[in-house]
């Protein structure tokens, strides 16, 4: 008991020191700047920025669920006995892995969309985000399902669980626990990736601040604000991930 307390205290101390180090570094950088910073100029654009935050969260959540669905479909196709499906997923995965998200967004909005008579660029942008994340989600499913051992399936066989019972009581409850942390990491990637939707003039955080910057000329301040806003969303998320990981590990 005592030793865990000391180790906790040590942790606490180490983290406080680490955060102080980073703050000190930032302070030093700020001090070295020749111009004065003023964030007040953004007050006029409050509405736009709040809307940006809302939209970032909205597209991120849509992309998360969209890519989970497509990713699961990919996982099934990769597991399928039809070789063509396996090959299709492999080829697709290779292409996506090698493609910058920005390029995919442009291709979706300006090439693939119009080819199917769709000029709704925002929609195509979100679709690009979904498509981009799908192979990663597929891998999350793959590792989650493969972590259920062959012998567990044997035990299910032996006791005579029906197919439905296996999934409902044994497989899915385990898979969800294993799935959650990497899924949340992917969510964090999506949130950051959604910043690129600004090239389609979609009003998410990046775009909102870009507008504000162009009107106030407060460029550096704008980027600092943007940085802080993303951190406010992503750090609690990653802390939550760690918590879930600890709480739910099997």
């Amino acid at each position: 008991m005592n030793s865990t307390l000391t180790s906790k205290l040590k942790d606490y101390f180490a983290y406080s020191l680490a955060i102080l180090t980073v703050l000190f570094f930032i302070l030093y950088i700020v001090q070295r700047q020749s111009s004065d910073f003023s964030f007040e100029v953004f007050a006029d654009y409050q509405f736009l920025v709040v809307q940006g935050i809302r939209n970032t969260i909205l597209v991120s959540v849509i992309s998360l669920f969209g890519s989970m669905i497509i990713g699961f479909l990919f996982y099934l196709l990769q597991k399928s006995k039809v070789r063509y499906f396996n090959a299709l997923i492999d080829v697709f995965t290779e292409i996506i892995y090698g493609t910058p998200l920005l390029v995919l967004i442009i291709v979706m909005a300006f090439l693939i969309g119009p080819a199917f008579n769709t000029y709704r660029r925002n929609l195509m942008g979100v679709l690009a985000l979904i498509v981009y994340m799908s192979p990663y989600m597929k891998n999350v499913f793959k590792s989650a399902f493969s972590s259920i051992s062959e012998e567990q399936y044997m035990a299910m066989d032996l006791f005579g669980f029906t197919s439905f019972q296996r999934y409902r009581y044994i497989i899915i409850p385990q898979v969800i626990r294993i799935l959650m942390p990497p899924m949340m990491n992917n969510f964090s990637l999506i949130i950051k990736g959604s910043a690129l939707l600004n090239v389609l003039s979609y009003n998410e955080i990046f775009f909102a601040i870009k507008i504000a910057q162009s009107r106030t000329f407060a460029f550096v301040e704008g980027y600092i604000l943007m940085w802080i806003l993303y951190l406010i969303i992503t750090i609690p998320l990653s802390q939550l991930t760690k918590f879930v990981e600890r709480k739910w590990s099997l």
């Binding site: 012998e151 567990q152 044997m154 035990a155 066989d157 032996l158 006791f159 669980f161 385990q174 099997l250």
Partner: protein, 234 residues
């Protein structure tokens, strides 16, 4: 136990068992021993019905092991506990009873607690497998195997993943079960346990049964292979 093994062959990538024949009557506790790769785990899996032989058949107490009723009368304990990791020790048992044996919640709970008590796990019933020791988890898995009221309990090297102290703990718990009226088939490397617990011993080597008999055969090995095995294990 009346055991008849008729011309069993089994292959994975290579043939592990080749036309094996064997029969046995009246013994209640059968030990299968042999080096790794001798085919003993394969044999116990075939006998339990976990795997289906490539050819041949096995009858236990006059019922083929491919018969669906066979599954209802066996309990199986794996090398490592193989409990469902997201469920507590108690839930590991009640889930099986409620869903596959049509027991009510109350009944299932009663049976689970009874068997966990039998294996000295009263204090651990609400813990997850990861929060108990390897020996406790293995004992819980024995309790789970017992809880479905099997006629025959198969144990496939139940202590191979445990250290000597936990091995002793688990084997002692198994020995206490000797008089509960079940039949046992087990694979193990622990010869003292074979001597104490088995009524009959089968020694396998390269997929064949080279020697068999009551446990005294361990003291008077006839074949060079069993002699060598005894020397290595001791």
């Amino acid at each position: 136990m009346i055991l008849k093994i008729n011309n069993i062959s089994h292959s994975y990538d290579v043939e592990v068992l080749h036309r094996l024949n064997f029969s046995l009557e009246k013994y209640k506790s059968l030990a299968i021993i042999g080096q790794s790769g001798s085919g003993k785990s394969t044999l116990i899996r075939l006998m339990s019905g976990l795997e289906v032989p490539t050819s041949g058949n096995i009858l236990i107490n006059n019922l083929s092991v491919s018969n669906e009723f066979h599954r209802k009368r066996v309990g199986f304990v794996f090398q490592n506990h193989n409990l469902f990791p997201h469920l507590t020790l108690k839930r590991n048992i009640t889930l099986v009873l409620e869903k596959t044996r049509r027991k009510s919640k109350k009944e299932a709970e009663k049976i689970a607690l009874k068997h966990l008590h039998l294996l000295h796990l009263d204090d651990q019933v609400n813990k997850l497998p990861k929060n108990v020791s390897g020996g406790q988890a293995q004992r819980a898995s024995i309790a789970r195997a017992l809880s479905v009221e099997p006629e025959i309990i198969f144990l496939d090297e139940p202590t191979s993943s445990l250290d000597p102290i936990l091995t002793h703990e688990v084997l002692t718990a198994i020995e206490e079960l000797k008089d509960i009226g079940k039949e046992f088939v087990f694979v193990t490397h622990v010869l003292s346990f074979v001597r104490d617990f088995a009524d009959y011993v089968v020694f396998m080597h390269e997929g064949k049964i080279l020697e068999h008999g009551e446990p005294y055969i361990l003291d008077n090995p006839k074949t060079d292979e069993l002699k060598e095995f005894m020397r290595k294990v001791h």
